[in-house]
């Protein structure tokens, strides 16, 4: 008999916390997104109205603007652009550094430095990006001046055509350390005999990399892909601090739009904020579940 109750007792505190602060709020957010609101008071069922309203906003999807003209293209597209540029760059750089630094003296120290971007608060990350891109105080412009491109110097985060890309490239600097650490751990897990056997068979360095290292790193690649995409979708702090979504919404993202609806619009609109949060969660969960399923099939 005791056996039956013990597991529950052990689970009880965790379940209480999870239900109160995670599970119930998740369901309640979905419910909130289907209601119409006047300020913080709900006035009835709204069906999909909040979703229609949100998706037709130019700050979420800017349909009137041609894609080639660049931002502001709307938060949803900015998030997607973020993923498309940031994920491959961070993963490629992370792999390159993990491989390169294995044979370098002091590689451990360099790895620690690169990983620092992951350790610091993202608020500080956002400050650092705003700082390096500053017209006068920023080191990026100092470098441009040093190589004779001084005419390009400007506060890169202050212009709609460059702000989003500036933040995305900056986020590569912040995140690459994560990909590198995961790839490093993956590399250490590859048995030395595999390389030796390949060398005895006369395989070239590139062949070994292509046919042994890359396939053996598949779990690390999956992890990096998943974590990086999720991080990009949830991005908030960096944008809030560096640009607050500006100029002219050119760097806004979904998480920020949700926050603005809730605490910046007068009156607040919990309905549309909840709709944005639910959309963000749907995208995130769909991707996470897809990745987990792919990983399970592999096993």
């Amino acid at each position: 008999m005791r056996r039956n109750i013990t597991p529950l007792l052990f689970l009880f505190p965790a379940l209480i916390l999870l239900i109160t602060f995670v599970l119930y709020p998740t369901v309640a957010t979905i419910w909130t997104s289907f209601l119409s609101w006047r300020g913080w008071r709900s006035t009835g069922f709204a069906g999909l109205d909040n979703y229609m309203e949100v998706l037709s906003r130019s700050s979420i999807i800017n349909l009137r603007r041609s894609f080639l003209k660049g931002p502001p293209l709307g938060a949803l597209l900015h998030n997607i652009i973020w993923v498309v540029i940031h994920v491959p760059l961070s993963m490629f750089l992370g792999l390159l550094l993990a491989v390169l630094l294995r044979r370098v003296k002091g590689g451990f120290l360099i790895k620690s430095v690169i990983f620092l971007g992951m350790v610091i608060p993202m608020v500080v990350g956002g400050i650092l990006l705003r700082f390096i891109y500053d017209e006068h105080a920023g080191v990026v412009n100092a470098m441009l001046r040093a190589i004779g491109l001084g005419w390009m110097a400007r506060t890169w985060t202050a212009y709609p055509d460059t702000a989003l890309l500036a933040l995305i490239f900056g986020s590569v600097w912040i995140w690459t350390g994560f990909c590198m650490i995961v790839y490093s751990a993956g590399l250490e897990g590859i048995p030395e005999e595999l390389y030796e056997a390949a060398r005895i068979d006369g395989a070239s360095g590139f062949q070994i990399f292509r046919h042994i290292t890359i396939p053996m790193l598949k779990p690390a690649t999956m992890t990096n892909l998943m974590m990086t995409v999720l991080w990009d979708l949830k991005i908030f702090d960096i944008v809030y601090v560096a640009t607050f979504g500006g100029p002219g919404r050119a760097t806004t993202v979904l998480a920020l739009e949700m926050y603005l609806d809730l605490f910046f619009k007068i009156p607040s609109n919990p309905g549309t904020a909840a709709a944005i949060a639910t959309l963000l969660t749907l995208i995130t969960l769909a991707f996470a579940i897809y990745m987990v399923r792919v990983a399970m099939v592999r096993k």
Partner: protein, 277 residues
């Protein structure tokens, strides 16, 4: 044997990358120890160099947003938000790892799925609920929220760790008449110290670094955590780089020290959970 030349080139490239990577940190550090006028003309200019600690003193005792208060608040929130979910999470993880009960796998899967949930998905009801309970704009409300939100990955991490522990010792203790809780408390937890160090380092860092939850849950400036103070120092048109740099250096020093002291555990916490999956 590789030719010597490539080795040299690889080393040069590697150290150049490291240098490039550290420049933003170097910049913010230099900005924190120099007066404002020397920062706007470029922290890399060393002709006129006035070392000063004034920036640190100014933000630490700032008249509107003292970072000293922010540090105290951050610690008040981050320490319990690390301890509570570890206690609660290890208990749950042990249950998942050792006991059989109906709906166990479904329950575990649900918790794992919750791991990828964006903070935005819970904040509206949590905001309303804590307001109703009088927990909004209090340390307690934010601590509970952080504790709950950290639970999914902590439960997953410890469950994966506990299943690797040999079950024989626990069974022997059971035969000797130990209760399940005694086994968990006296045998399982002490043998899990490395895992505890990993989770404590990561959870503390995440809570310390968090901005979004604090932004919504703490409204009055004297309760703000350190990460809330940094953006508040930034004016609308004027950015006091010297003060912001000093506040940034101090605020990031805490997680950097945790990382430096617990590096091995820190990295294990990140790759351990994900690689073995």
């Amino acid at each position: 044997m590789r030719p010597r030349k490539t080795t040299v080139i690889v080393h040069v490239i590697a150290w150049l990358i490291a240098l490039a990577w550290i420049i933003p940190f170097l910049g913010v550090f230099m900005a924190s120890i120099r007066p404002y006028s020397e920062i706007v003309s470029g922290w890399w200019n060393l002709e006129k160099f006035n070392l000063t600690l004034e920036n640190f003193l100014k933000v630490w005792n700032h008249k509107n947003y003292p970072l000293s208060k922010g540090f105290i608040n951050s610690f008040i929130i981050a320490v319990p938000s690390t301890i509570i979910p570890i206690l609660v999470g290890t208990l749950a993880a042990y249950s998942f790892a050792r006991f059989r009960f109906p709906t166990r796998d479904l329950l575990f899967l649900t918790i794992v799925i919750l791991m990828s949930l964006p903070q935005q998905m819970v904040i509206i009801p949590v905001f309303l609920l804590t307001k109703k309970l009088g927990l909004w704009n209090t340390y307690g409300g934010l601590i509970l929220l952080h504790s709950a939100f950290g639970l999914p990955w902590i439960v997953l991490f410890f469950r994966n760790f506990f299943v690797t522990l040999p079950v024989e010792i626990e069974e022997a203790a059971k035969i000797d008449g130990a209760t399940d809780f005694q086994i968990y408390y006296k045998i399982v937890l002490p043998t899990s110290l490395p895992a505890l160090a990993s989770v404590a380092a990561l959870q503390f860092t995440w809570v310390w670094n968090d901005f979004f939850f604090a932004l919504i849950m703490l409204a009055t400036p004297d309760r703000w955590v350190a990460t809330q103070i940094i953006p508040a120092l930034k004016g609308r048109y004027f950015i006091p780089w010297n003060l912001i740099a000093a506040a940034s250096v101090l605020t990031m020093a805490v997680p950097v020290i945790v990382y430096a002291l617990l590096q091995k555990y820190y990295v294990k916490g990140i790759v351990g959970g994900v690689i073995k999956g």
